[in-house]
């Protein structure tokens, strides 16, 4: 594993050392995995279905624990787990709350005032294009809309570490590209650390400052690739040759890892 160049500077924000995760029933999901992410990096994670990507994020979030190895989160820039947000693979909304109250939840748990909560939640909902559905309940939303609510809920806290598990998987390509671009702009502005699981190579290339590709279970890192794209990116970059080149690198690694 090559050490990544430092983007945010300082010590790694997330570091995993020799992680092994074996579930009850003997399913060995991760084996001796090492990964360190600098503060301010945007790391894309790719890999075949069932290879352990979600497991990896859960370990980082502290929602699951490795059978052996060490998980360390925090650095000078990002002191603790306090500033984590997580977009789960499933939306996991609270069925008894409407969209706006679902989105406002993290602020509520932080103890922010009702009016500020509302405002921030409204802004986040608008960004994901759900302004006209903000009073609806989850059972009145389409699949993609639910996922967008979950996204808004993660972004509303302005987290320092953002864990995203296929957040755009159920969206149409246009909405998805729009959100990709918004997310990239946000990252450029705020430089939070992002771990982004995706199945779309284009998306990974467009967003990430670094990408890792995992192999079939037990998941190992078969590629750890620093992006060659410039930091300034926009819709236009998708047609540049260097973009295509990057995509090819990831595709190959994926093919190799899925073999």
């Amino acid at each position: 594993m090559t050490e990544p160049v430092q983007i945010g500077g300082g010590a790694p924000a997330v570091s995993l050392r020799g992680i092994t995760r074996r579930f009850e029933g003997g399913v060995l999901t991760l084996e001796n995995l090492n990964l360190s992410v600098q503060a301010g990096e945007f790391l894309a994670i790719l890999g075949p279905s069932g290879c352990g990507k979600s497991t990896l994020l859960r370990l980082v979030a502290g929602l699951d624990h490795p059978n052996s190895g060490e998980v360390h989160v925090g650095s000078r820039e990002m002191p603790s787990r306090g500033g984590i947000a997580y977009v789960f693979q499933d939306p996991h909304l609270m069925p008894w709350r409407n969209v706006i109250d679902n989105v406002a939840l993290p602020l509520e748990l932080r103890g922010e005032s009702k009016s500020r909560r509302r405002e921030s939640a409204k802004a986040a909902i608008e960004k994901v294009g759900l302004a006209d559905a903000s009073r609806r309940y989850p059972n009145q939303l389409s699949g993609g809309m639910k996922m967008r609510v979950s996204l808004a809920r993660a972004l509303v806290t302005e987290p320092e570490l953002l864990l995203m598990d296929e957040p755009f998987g159920s969206l149409d390509e246009l909405t998805r590209q729009m959100l990709d671009e918004q997310l990239y702009a946000l990252w450029q502005e705020r430089r939070m650390t992002v771990l982004f699981v995706t199945h779309t190579v284009h998306e990974a290339v467009f967003l990430s400052s670094r990408a890792i590709v995992m192999s079939r279970r037990p998941g190992r890192i078969v590629l750890n690739h620093q992006s060659d794209l410039p930091e300034m990116r926009g819709a236009w970059i998708r047609t540049e040759p260097v973009f295509m080149q990057e995509c090819r690198v990831l595709y190959k690694a994926l093919e190799w890892g899925s073999a």
């Binding site: 859960r58 787990r81 997580y86 069925p95 008894w96 989850p138």
Partner: protein
């Protein structure tokens, strides 16, 4: 408006049909009133003793309502406490079963010694009898929270209090209401039985009315008092049902038509 009418007429029709059938059977077979009174006999007894029935119902209602209220309160608290840690559940949940299996007659002397005859003791009876279903259903509800949401709360560092009020309790509500439905009927029976053992004739509730009418072979009056108790239970049940419907209608599958 049309909605609530739809809820009211089916049981009403059932009620009327059942009573017509009953009246017919009793009349045809010529069963004497002291054995099984016809609805009309019961109705007559109820009219004759209207005032007594009313005050008895009032006394029993008070105890049943207070007992039910206590059950809701304590049942929620205990259910929450039990669900907070697995070892607490293991250590104490089995003992809450005691509450259900202790015959009131056995603890009545203690009740009476501590609380005297009357309202307080009868209320406690209603409370003891109706407590367990609230505990059991609250606990079950709190244990079935979507694990994804639990993770979310953990992640955002939500303390136990916030997790309780914003996640576990709302998620447990459908279960809690099932518990309350059961508790509503039990509170009434608890009050009635409580009167047998710890009531006072000076504030005669339905339980003692049943006993003294029964002793004097006024079977129609017995049935009228039983009917009053049932109506009381039904009223409590309807309140619980309606609140449940109202609180869950937006999101829970069980509240949908």
């Amino acid at each position: 408006m049309r909605k609530s009418w739809q809820v009211i007429w089916p049981p009403l029709v059932t009620f009327v049909l059942l009573h017509i059938l009953w009246e017919e059977i009793v009349r045809r077979l010529g069963v004497p009133a002291w054995k099984v009174p016809a609805p009309s006999d019961i109705f007559r007894a109820a009219v004759d003793r209207w005032g007594d029935l009313l005050t008895a119902t009032a006394h029993t209602s008070t105890a049943a309502l207070l007992g039910f209220g206590l059950s809701v309160l304590v049942g929620l608290i205990v259910g929450i406490a039990l669900s907070s840690m697995k070892w607490i559940e293991r250590a104490f949940y089995p003992f809450t079963v005691f509450l259900q299996t202790v015959p009131l007659v056995a603890i009545a002397p203690l009740l009476v010694l501590w609380l005297g005859y009357g309202l307080a003791s009868v209320t406690v009876s209603a409370f003891i009898v109706s407590l367990f279903p609230v505990i059991a259903n609250t606990l079950a509800g709190m244990r079935s929270v979507d694990p994804g949401l639990r993770d979310l709360f953990r992640l955002y560092g939500a303390g136990p209090i916030r997790t309780l009020f914003r996640l576990k309790l709302p998620a447990a509500l459908p279960n809690v209401f099932t518990g309350l439905r059961i508790a509503s009927g039990l509170a009434v029976i608890g009050a009635v039985v409580g009167e047998f053992v710890a009531g006072t004739f000076d504030q005669q509730g339905l339980g003692l009315l049943v006993q003294s009418a029964s002793r004097n072979l006024q079977t129609p009056l017995v049935f009228a008092a039983v009917a009053a108790a049932s109506l009381l239970g039904l009223a409590l049940f309807a309140i619980v049902n309606f609140s449940g419907y109202w609180m869950l209608r937006r999101w829970h599958a069980s509240a949908r038509t």
